[in-house]
Amino acid sequence: MHGIKDKLRKLRLPDDFRWRRVAIPVLAVLAALAIGALLILLAGKSPLTAYRALFRSAFGNRNAWAETLVKMTPLLLAGMGTAVSLRARIFNIGAEGQIFMGALGAAAVGLFFGNPPLIIGIPLMAAAGFVAGGIWGGIAGFLKQKFQANEIIVTLMLNYIAIEIVSFMVGGPWRDPVGTEPFTARFSNGTILPIILSKTRLHGGIIIALIAAVVIWWVIRYTTYGYRITVTGVNPEAARYGGIKTGRLILITMFISGGLAGLAGATEVSGVHRRLLESFSPGYGYTAIAIALLGRGKPAGVTLAAFLFAALVIGTNGMQDFVGVPVSIVFIIEGLVLIFILASEVFQRRRG
């Protein structure tokens, strides 16, 4: 029995931590693509052509890069939001709802604040998105702190409410009277995120997202609040014993977590659609959970994971458009990447 154990030990990757952290996700992606290749073959297409299309669509030219970064913006913001709560061991799976509320907040500024200059309009729009998403997250935090309500259920349920509220607003009170479909009028110019790469859709949201990631990294590493989150996440009982007011911490953390997701919604509607519409998010909030997990709740990891997923989404879309690979295979590949990375995580943790 011990012989086998020893052999397994030797098979394991060396203990060089940093190297391993990069290698494992890369291997997981490659493994997922390998299985995906088999499925593409079964569908009667050439995997090589398909993967060439995937790569080209995500990174092939200026526009491809722009599209990938546009996709990355909401994924990074919502992923950071989920990661912040995850670090405090709160399972906020309500990023989707918080995205919708954030978009609603941004729309309020975009529609009803006249036409402020960019320098005022953008911060105002972003702040409204952050606060609206934060309140939505904060509700779950309050219920958890006050009544020990399970945040998983609460945040999930709040998702449906948020989506329906947006649906109601764009279909009724805020509907663009001249619009053909349920959406609002165009936001005022001063609240629309400007394009930062000409002749593409790449808007300033990516800059906001990257700044947010850096700020969160700094807060977690260098502030007492970040210290408290980390301790609570690692051992809530030790945190309580150490005099950390965990109730208040939950509330603040859920506000920030929701706020970041709200910011994702705000940048998406302002930068991409320039108006609020019913279904502007194809489930960014759920992908955010995967991204937060992949990034192990750490800002750098989450940024990488968001980039990876954005590229995968854009790339697989291209694969479908240009090579005709069925959509279901695209989803399977995305799922496989996730499973492999999580599995490798378990494998790595089982040491000794």
């Binding site: 502030t223 007492t224 970040g226 980390t230 301790v231 690692v234 009982e237 014993y241 005099g243």
Partner: protein, 507 residues
């Protein structure tokens, strides 16, 4: 006469460590041979080899002079070896008889033949004065009784050699006395016993011979009559140790108490309250010992002091602070209440975080560790290095995760953090449980110096010797109540022991 058991040059290697290095050990018929050593010295590994749970890399085992291969516990049992583990392996919802025959049930057709087994068990029980009724349910038995069931099971299976792994760890002092009587009866009957322990006193009391292990090697085998505790301790640790740090006992009656509990009640989930009408004062400059077997309300008491648990009735007053004001652990820390919990890993530390991050747990929001909410890493690390140096926490650096520390070093880390807060009231709950002699010595002198500095120390311990060595006054807790109080603990040893066993219970 051939020894009943001989272990010759047993070697067992685990990756990175040799747990047993050429260990030889003989057991004569009718003797109690103790295996003494600190945690990790290799005692349990050796016994697991003997009991067939592990296979040695080298060496041989001889029973009655015949070489035996122990492939599994079944072989060991067949050779007349029985083992009583530290943690009992009994099914609580089965009767004594059912537990004893489990795995080896006497059956006729599909039916369990309980009668013969019962008769046999009753006979064994009376032969060895075990006083166990075969029809009792395990869940109805006390810890001491459950241990006797384990012994019965070994005897029922025909054990001639009994391995007892830390058998007194969960017994009250009086249960220990009774337990030693049982051992003596068995020896008179010609059985042989291997007694595993790290407690010097009981080894000196019960053994015929003692073999000391250190770091997987035999340091030596000595006759009980030719040695003393001091020699054994230095064999065990590898240097001279102060066996009992005894402070000069003090009393500060004329000062006002540092902390007072008045008519404190804490309700439990079940009908019985966890704490029942507790009234006590703790004075500055004294160690108040709270003796009691685990689970008699001591943890809850500590939690009330630390603000982690709200009493249902009664008041807690710390210093001059208003007893009626609402409190949280945060306020208690600010009032100078520090707490060394028994749950070192679950409560006392965040194992995944570094030593330095653990060291600032209670005071991370104060100068110099942070200012206006921003951490000062340089100050934190300087502090961590100072603490590591001062309290002799053995580690390669202050930035390694706390989970890599050994038990003793983790406890030193927790202790150093709590003391660094300059406590006015220090609650130490089972501060030396499971630690080595060297670490115990260290922790005891730290507690004494805290007292001498003028702070109030509440020492909660199930170890009567520890309580008596350190405490200026003693309170015994039994089933959530104060069962006994002594102002002069040394002369009340027997009463304290009895009270721990529930002799002075009001009901």
């Amino acid at each position: 006469m051939t020894p009943v058991l001989e272990l010759e040059h047993i070697t067992k290697r685990f990756p990175g460590v040799t747990a047993n290095d050429e260990i030889s050990f003989t057991l004569k018929r009718g003797e109690i041979h103790s295996l003494l050593g600190e945690n990790g010295a290799g005692k349990t590994t050796l016994m697991n080899i003997l009991y067939g749970l592990l296979k040695p890399d080298e060496g041989e085992i001889r029973v009655q002079g015949n070489i035996c291969r122990m492939e599994s516990p079944k072989d060991a049992i067949a050779h007349g070896i029985g083992m009583v583990h530290q943690h009992f392996k009994l099914v609580p919802t089965f009767t004594v008889t059912e537990n004893i025959v489990l795995g080896n049930e006497p059956v006729r057709g599909l039916f369990l033949q309980r009668k013969d087994a019962r008769r046999e068990i009753t006979k064994l029980s009376s032969d060895y004065c075990l006083n166990i009724h075969p029809g009792m349910m395990i869940s109805q038995l006390s810890v001491g009784e459950q241990q006797r069931v384990e012994i019965l099971r070994a005897l029922y299976r025909g054990a001639e050699i009994l391995i007892l792994d830390e058998p007194t760890a969960s017994l009250t002092p009086n249960e220990c006395v009774a337990f030693f009587e049982i051992l003596k009866t068995m020896i008179e009957d010609g059985k042989s016993v291997i007694f595993i322990s790290h407690k010097l006193d009981e080894v000196m009391e019960i053994s015929d011979r003692i073999t000391v292990l250190r770091k997987g090697k035999v340091v030596g085998t000595v006759d009980r009559d030719a040695t003393d505790s001091k020699e054994l301790a230095s064999m065990m640790v590898g240097r001279d140790v102060v066996l009992r740090v005894v402070g000069e006992h003090k009393r500060h009656k004329n000062t006002s108490p540092q902390a007072s509990l008045e008519k404190l009640w804490v309700k439990g989930d079940q009908k019985k309250p966890l704490l029942k009408d507790i009234t006590m004062d703790v004075y500055p400059g004294e160690i108040l010992g709270i003796a009691g077997v685990d689970g008699n309300g001591q943890t809850e008491l500590a939690e009330v002091f630390a603000g982690l648990r709200k009493p249902d009735k009664g008041s807690v007053r710390i210093g001059d602070h208003d007893p009626a004001a609402a409190v949280s652990p945060y306020e208690r820390i600010r009032q100078g209440v520090y707490y060394i919990p028994a749950e070192r890993k679950k409560r006392g530390s965040a194992l995944a975080l570094s030593l330095s991050m653990n060291l600032i747990l209670k005071n991370h929001a104060t100068h110099p560790f942070s200012r206006r909410g921003i951490l000062n890493y340089a100050a934190i690390q300087t502090f961590a290095r100072k603490q590591i140096e001062e309290y002799d926490i053995r580690c390669p650096s202050s930035e390694i995760p706390a989970e890599t520390l050994s038990g003793g070093n983790l406890q030193k880390l927790i202790l150093s953090r709590e003391i660094s807060g300059k406590p006015k009231l220090l609650i130490a709950e089972q501060p030396t449980r499971g630690l080595d002699v060297g670490a115990i010595e260290n922790i005891h002198s730290l507690l004494l110096s805290e007292r001498d500095r003028g702070s109030s120390v509440v020492l909660i311990s199930a170890d009567l010797d520890e309580i008596l060595a350190l405490s200026d006054r003693v309170v015994v807790m039994y089933e959530g109540e104060i069962a006994f109080t002594s102002e002069d603990p040394e002369s009340a040893r027997e009463e304290i022991g009895l009270a721990m066993g529930g002799a002075y219970c009001t009901e």
